[in-house]
């Protein structure tokens, strides 16, 4: 199997299958089976087929050709170069910033087999957690070496293995090429598998969940003018049509080989979420929520466009990967390799043109006061900042980060399977995925912005989730909060941690949402205050949801490798935060926010679980009618529960685990401690540093302690009822008000943006009506008057006169010619014959009398 | 025939000193043979029809005249018809009324001009036309003209209705009939009936009806359309006794009436022979007995003659069986209504024929030279198109020392005295046509032009025709070209 050809083919078909399904349902959906039921099967078959292709790509093509770290160190380009010390770079980094003493970590000096040693240590540590004390001791000894040697001595990581190319070139405008391309590395393949797996579960689940739509649907939430609830034909096939398009779009983002294609599919994902959130379009709330999601995303996309323009105008390409010819020479360089060149040891450095372009946006900044780097370089750095923040703006919108997080909770108006998909694998994942994909472009300053955004988001969202009573809304804010975790991890340099959390979160969040959907399906309400005690009625839902809750709070045995999936990823993030804060004590909030977030997460998740499943029923009527969902819905729950439990584990007997897979596509040049150019004090630690015991221990203990504390609090308040939540609410009324009203974000936006916008529009309307219209009316009146004059003088006498004269002449001629037209066919023929003969005669005669013949 | 007579010498004296005399005698002999075939055939078929209808209706049929089977019954009928009064209605258009039966009869006979009765290099055929299939269909279409004139000139409403129905029916059925006939033409790459018949040599699996599923289906469509186009039951609307008394021949009696019947049986016979040549191997039996017995060989030998006679017997037998099947159908199936007749043609026969034509084309394109049984034993010459042009459209010139061929002799180029055994045959001559034109133009010079050298190189080039071999065993562009050329050859 040649991966360069098979991978794109497999993934292309995995990508196109949902499109085929979409097109088929679009045209024939209504006629597929009774009430369009066949559409569901078609869409499900398509996504399952895509999943099969994706897993084939992963296990059949990628893994055999790219063995994971343990299997073959030497052959792996990622790890291979760890063992090769790069002496040539020692000098260039000797003037690297301060705090070298604090960089007491792995220092690999030349001749030894340090790389292999380190790898062995790290993998052993991650996989089996053997003898932490001994490892600590070894680290200690290494640290002494490190203090002796230069901390930057070890080489940066190269470009990860990838395959890129174009399926089809849409257009080429000079150097700018718009193409449908692919960029496939292990992240792409893993994302395909994850998206397809979750989407398959969602499809199966939706087959059961959406069965109301099979027949005429009575929407009890929409009241018509006559007081009757709205009745409308079911839109079963339409739902699956959108789902297919959604999956297709997400696959498109993941496989995209250039920024332009990302943007196209980015917008497709947006429009799909618009369709799906507004699926119950007759409900005012749903249509408003859909509009809100769409418009808020536009704000982010505006920034993304700016970022794209900045990159394009200075780099001249949209492509991620390098294009090489058969000899391995570059024919066209991608963004990543332009910004992180091998000459520069894969450190981020503005490309040549960026300085020039940078001057345009930062003209006054040319007289730099910072000694590091010349003025041109600083201008380029500013441009990189603009580009990075711009791209990140898109991610902010899509991944619902502060301050654009307001749309995601409202997106609850869509059907629950959509929420499960939007909140786990597709829409919001797209933002994090893009941030991960563009990671090599982000300078440390941009990463700091990302980190703070994620930090704020995670705290705010978590606090709102505490007070929400709508079961889906709690989960929605939990999603926002978890996305904040991911962004925080990325911003702190923890690429693997962030992406890993994306994967684990996808599984347990989709599980949680589908469980909540199952609950809603069972009790027909979203309100947790009307639930309670459902554990007995719907055991499968309850216990799978319990698995989800445990996963999201990161339950596990501290400092071990045993735990739910969230345990691995969340601990990795907190470790990264500790590692970062160790180097940058100024940014202490970034250290404590995730810890605090873990506490709140545990609290609100178990609040949710207790309110729903434990205790006594609060609404006996609803409790009596509650029932377990059909098997087509619970089966995906169980599947997802298994994954939520075990996605972070190593496959026994192999080194196959998600982090190892992700490590293979670690972005170029991110395995080194770097420093900000614009903020020289900012130090971005190498991610591997966070795995050291020094940070593992406090982080693990903190995470466990906070989670346990949160769980305990929730138990105390909501299960044992030692503390009455209503009394607490009364006591902390002001804080509750803040949380309950979602920090008044919607109101603030309404007052700051929407109201001034409306006011401005009103003024402009007045300007339009009063001034512009009067100008136009005046002009029109003038023209009209002029025309009247011309009409009277010129038109009526001269033009009309001549036209009438011609008409009269024609009329008279016609009257005269009329006599010839007798209407008799035979006379016409006779005329023809006679005139032919006459013509012949005339021609012959003329031929004779004309001289010179 | 004409060539034979032209060169025939008895006791050292040429029998025909002038070529036109040879042609005249040959023509008379052909005409006599054909008229005899149609007339005697009609006698036999009428008797056969009465016997068959009798047996089908559980009675004996004619038994009296001529012995046990009543085999002279038709002769007696004929004598009776001859002695009948020749009536003509008062309001009739005399000229047309009188001439109409002869038109039908002539058309029926004319069809036999182009029908070969035995194939081979020297086919037994009155006039070897290279557009034979086309000619036969055209002439069969003419037969309706007599019917229409008869219907009109009888000054009878019954007759007029019959003629109108006949006109509508025949004109409609010519379309699917032509479509069906095009398929064998396509497969053979020629409209020459001799070629079409000769490609089906060998086992019966080589018959074009077994060439592929499409030809098998289209054969039955052909049978249906042929039945309709010769105006036989269940399509005999023009003479529907129950509604129109006797249709177009209501007012006819005596010999004129019998001419219509001879025309009908003649055309039945001709379409049956046409079907047998197009689909059922023609003069080739189901098993190649002649080649097993080692017959054939040099033209003019006894073995060859025996083989030709066997072929003749095959053709006549197949034609007779076809006629018998038509009779069987007539006495089994009730007559359709006129709208049903038209629906059968327009809604069923034409679309089926069109689709089958397409299918056969695709088969021929995808599996050239292969039939339904997966055999590959069509003679290679089947898929060669022999013309005076090569694939690039350039006229080819001959090597100067080519052996003299049939064409050369026909053109009178060679001065050697020819006997049939001396003539060298090659593949091209099978397809060589000698149209009316070429015969008229070249034959007078054979006597006078003997010994005259070839005039110029150009003349040689144009006289000699080279074969253009189109390989059909390869697909792709060349395959497409072969289809184009065979379609072109069949158009």
């Amino acid at each position: 199997m040649e991966p360069a050809s098979t991978l794109p083919t497999l993934l292309m078909w995995a990508w196109l299958l949902p499109l085929i399904s979409f097109v088929a349902i679009l045209f024939f959906g209504k006629h597929m089976g009774p009430h369009g039921k066949g559409a569901a099967y078609l869409a499900t078959v398509a996504i399952v087929g895509a999943g099969l292709l994706s897993f084939t790509a992963l296990f059949g093509v990628w893994l055999p050709n790219h063995p994971l770290a343990d299997a073959a160190h030497a052959s792996d380009p990622l790890h291979g170069n760890h063992g090769i010390p790069d002496d040539s770079h020692n000098g260039s980094h000797s003037d690297a910033p301060t705090s070298a003493g604090k960089h007491a970590h792995r220092a690999y000096h030349g001749a030894t087999d340090g790389g292999a040693l380190r790898n062995t240590q790290r993998d052993a540590q991650l996989a089996l957690n053997i003898q932490p004390v001994a490892l600590l001791a070894e680290h200690g000894s290494l640290a002494e070496h490190g203090s002796l040697n230069d901390s930057q001595a070890h080489a940066n990581n190269k470009t990860p293995p990838y395959y890129n190319g174009d399926f089809y070139t849409l257009a080429a405008f000079g150097p700018l090429k718009l193409s449908i391309g692919y960029y496939i590395d292990s992240l792409t393949v893993a994302m395909f598998c994850m998206v397809a797996l979750i989407a398959s579960c969602v499809h199966f689940y939706a087959i059961g969940y959406m069965h109301d739509e099979l027949h005429e649907f009575t929407d009890s939430e929409v009241t018509l003018a006559d007081g009757q609830p709205l009745k409308r034909p079911g839109r079963y096939h339409r739902f699956f049509q959108y789902l297919s398009l959604f999956c297709f779009s997400m696959f498109g983002i993941v496989i995209a080989g250039n920024m332009a294609m990302v943007f196209v599919f980015w917008e497709l994902v947006g429009i799909c979420s618009y369709f799906l959130i507004g699926f119950y379009i007759e409900r005012k709330t749903a249509s408003t929520a859909a509009n809100k999601a769409f418009i808020v995303n536009r704000v982010g996309d505006f920034g993304m466009l700016i970022g794209m323009m900045a990159l394009w105008s200075s780099l001249g390409t949209f492509s991620f990967g390098d294009t090489k010819d058969a000899d391995g020479k570059f024919t066209e360089r991608g963004i990543f390799s332009l910004l992180r060149t091998a000459e520069n040891d894969y450190h981020l450095k503005p490309a040549g043109d960026m300085a020039f372009e940078g001057h345009r946006i930062m003209p006054t900044d040319s007289d730099g006061e910072v000694q590091s780097g010349d003025s041109d370089n600083r201008a380029g750095q500013w441009l990189l900042l603009v580009a990075g923040v711009g791209i990140f703006c898109g991610c902010v919108g899509k991944s619902a980060q502060f301050p654009l997080h307001v749309w995601l909770p409202d997106a609850m108006e869509g059907p629950t399977p959509v929420s499960a998909l939007v909140h786990s694998a597709t829409m919001v994942a797209a933002g994090v995925y893009l941030a991960g994909r563009f990671f090599p472009v982000f300078s440390p300053e941009v990463l700091l912005v990302i980190a703070y955004t994620g930090c704020i988001t995670l705290v705010i969202a978590a606090t709102i989730a505490i007070t929400a009573t709508d079961i889906k809304r709690v989960l929605a804010y939990s999603t926002v909060s978890q996305l904040g975790y991911m962004m925080l991890a990325l911003g702190l340099g923890g690429w693997v941690a962030g992406m890993f959390h994306l994967f684990t979160h996808a599984f347990f969040k989709s599980l949680l949402f589908m469980c909540s959907g199952s609950v809603i399906h069972g009790v027909h309400t979203n309100d947790m205050t009307e639930m309670g005690g459902l554990r007995k009625k719907m055991p499968v839902t309850a216990y799978t949801m319990l698995v989800g809750c445990l996963a999201i709070i990161g339950a596990g045995i501290p400092l071990s490798t045993i735990g739910f999936s969230g345990y691995y990823s969340k601990d990795a993030i907190i470790e990264q935060a500790f590692s970062f804060a160790d180097l940058n004590p100024v940014h202490w909030p970034l250290k404590w926010a995730p810890v605090a977030g873990a506490l709140i997460t545990a609290f609100y998740m178990f609040r949710l679980w207790y309110m729903t499943f434990a205790g006594k029923p609060r609404n006996q009527h609803r409790y009596d009618h509650a029932h377990e969902s059909p098997r087509v819905m619970t089966l995906p729950l169980v599947v997802l529960a298994v994954f939520a439990l075990g996605i972070g584990w190593t496959v026994p007997g192999t080194s196959l685990k998600v982090t190892n897979l992700l490590e293979q596509s670690r972005p170029v040049g991110t395995l080194a401690t770097t420093h900000g150019e614009l903020l020289p004090s900012l130090v971005l630690p190498d991610e591997h540093r966070s795995h050291e015991w020094e940070f593992r221990k406090p982080a693990g203990i903190a995470a466990f302690a906070t989670a346990a504390l949160g769980l305990l609090l929730a138990t105390v308040v909501y299960l044992w009822r030692f503390l009455n939540p209503d009394e607490l609410k009364q006591r902390f009324r002001s804080i509750h008000a803040v949380f309950w009203n979602k920090w008044w974000f919607d109101e603030i936006y309404g007052a700051l943006i929407v109201a001034p916008g409306l006011l401005l529009a009103k003024w402009i309307t007045k300007f339009d009506l009063g001034i512009i219209d009067s100008i136009i009316h005046g002009t029109a009146a003038t023209c009209k008057g002029g025309a009247k004059v011309v009409d009277a003088v010129l038109d009526r006498t001269l033009v009309d006169g001549s036209a009438n004269g011609m008409a009269r002449g024609t009329w008279d001629l016609g009257l005269w010619l009329r006599k010839i037209q007798t209407g008799s066919l035979r006379q016409y023929v006779m005329l023809l014959v006679i005139s032919t003969v006459l013509l012949f005669a005339a021609a012959s005669y003329l031929q004779q009398i004309i001289p010179g013949q | 025939m004409a060539q034979f007579l032209e060169n025939l010498t008895l006791f050292g004296v040429r029998v025909c000193p002038w070529p036109w005399l040879a042609y005249g005698i040959a023509g008379l002999v052909h005409i006599g043979l054909i008229i005899n075939l149609v007339a005697v055939g009609a006698l036999i078929f009428i008797w056969l029809e009465r016997k068959i209808s009798g047996r089908i209706q559980d009675r004996l049929g004619p038994t009296r005249v001529g012995g046990k089977f009543g085999w002279l019954q038709t002769l007696a009928d004929g004598i009776k018809l001859l002695t009948k009064e020749d009536l003509m209605p008062n309001g009739a258009d005399g000229l047309l009324f009188k001439i109409a039966p002869y038109i039908s009869f002539c058309a029926a006979i004319s069809a036999f001009i182009a029908i070969p009765f035995a194939g081979g290099a020297y086919p037994w055929i009155a006039q070897h036309l290279n557009v034979g299939v086309f000619f036969v269909l055209a002439v069969l279409g003419l037969e309706v003209f007599g019917v229409i004139l008869a219907g009109y000139s009888s000054a009878s409403k019954w007759s007029l209705f019959g003629a109108m129905r006949e006109a509508a029916q025949v004109v409609s059925y010519e379309v699917p009939l032509g479509l069906c006939a095009v398929v064998p033409v396509l497969l053979a790459g020629s409209m020459d009936m001799v070629v079409i018949g000769d490609i089906q040599a060998g086992l019966f699996t080589n018959w074009l009806v077994f060439h592929d599923p499409f030809t098998f289906i289209i054969f039955w469509v052909f049978v249906t359309c042929a039945t309709a186009s010769v105006n036989r039951a269940p399509f005999d609307l023009a003479e529907a006794e129950s509604e129109l008394v006797a249709g177009f021949h209501t007012e006819y009696s005596g010999l004129r009436w019998s001419f219509f019947f001879m025309a009908e049986y003649g055309s039945m016979f001709s379409v049956s022979i046409l079907a047998s040549i197009l689909f059922l191997g023609g003069w080739h039996g189901p098993f190649p007995i002649t080649s097993w017995l080692g017959l054939g060989g040099e033209t003019g030998t006894a073995g060859w003659g025996l083989a030709q006679v066997l072929g003749l017997a095959n053709v006549l037998l197949k034609g007779t069986i076809g006629v018998c099947i038509m009779m069987w159908i007539r006495w089994t199936v009730p007559r359709l209504r006129i709208d049903q007749v038209m629906a059968t043609c327009l809604k069923y026969c034409t679309p089926i024929a069109a689709v089958m034509f397409l299918g056969a084309t695709c088969w021929h394109y995808k599996l050239p030279n292969k039939n339904f049984f997966g055999l590959q034993n069509y003679p290679p010459g089947v898929y060669e198109v022999h013309e005076g042009w090569d694939a690039q459209g350039v006229e080819t010139t001959d090597p100067p020392n080519d052996p003299p061929t049939y064409k050369n002799k026909l053109a009178g180029e060679s001065s050697q005295p020819r006997s049939a055994s001396q003539v060298t045959w090659d593949k091209t001559t099978i397809l060589a046509s000698h149209s009316l034109n070429s015969k008229l133009r070249t034959s007078p010079t054979t006597g006078t032009g003997a010994g005259s050298p070839p005039h110029s190189k150009k003349r040689i080039a144009t006289r000699r025709e080279r074969s253009m071999l189109i390989s059909t065993t390869t697909n792709g562009l060349r395959g497409i070209r072969s289809i184009l050329i065979s379609v072109g050859g069949s158009c």
């Binding site: 003969v837 | 290279n130 003209f145 004109v171 013309e387 034109n437 072109g488 158009c491």
Partner: protein, 193 residues
């Protein structure tokens, strides 16, 4: 008999028949007989085509004109065959003008035909030397766009397609024009008209 050039004899025969029956068409009063004479004239024309080496066109003439067009014509004749239409006389004045004009036209045409020496024909030896060429395949290839006879001339594929579509349209249109009109008024229904 020895000096007779037989193609010319057949030309005279066919041409004579064609002209004679064309004149018969002109002077016949009965519409059905006109059709009959026309058939004979056209069949003789087909013979002339054969004689000129255009055997395929001749066969087409037989099949389409004589077999198809005239059947249609006769069909029309019968549909309208009422006594008053079978023989419709024209004015004598029309005849006089027609004969004079037509005669003048004929004279002009014949005079023109014989005034070009290249059209006079070849001598016998030259005519005998002309090669016999079959026309079916070249015509078919020409219709399919390949000119095997004259590679420098263009093929007729496109006109062929246009004519095919044209025929289809014409036949549909003709069927539409000639379709039976439904009598819709209730009065007609009541009276059985």
């Amino acid at each position: 008999m020895e000096g007779i050039y037989w193609p010319s004899v057949f030309f005279l025969l066919f041409g004579g028949i064609a002209c004679a029956f064309a004149v018969a068409v002109l002077f016949s009063k009965n519409i059905v007989r006109m059709a009959f004479y026309l058939v004979i004239s056209l069949a003789a024309t087909a013979g002339l085509f054969f004689l000129a080496g255009a055997d395929f066109v001749g066969a087409m003439q037989l099949m389409i004109y004589v077999g198809g067009t005239l059947v249609l014509l006769v069909f029309g004749v019968m549909l309208t065959s009422q006594e008053r239409f079978v023989e419709m006389k024209s004015d004598a004045g029309d005849w006089v003008i027609g004969i004079f004009a037509g005669g003048a036209l004929l004279v002009v045409l014949i005079w023109a035909a014989f005034s070009i020496p290249a059209w006079q024909g070849m001598d016998a030896a030259e005519a005998n030397a002309v090669a016999v060429k079959k026309t079916v395949t070249p015509i078919a290839m020409g219709l399919l766009g390949f000119r095997v006879d004259a590679p420098d001339r263009s093929g007729y594929f496109f006109p062929f397609e246009i004519v095919s579509v044209h025929l289809l349209v014409v036949l549909v249109g003709a069927a539409y024009l000639a379709r039976a009109k439904r009598k819709t008024t209730s009065a007609n229904l009541a009276t059985g008209d």
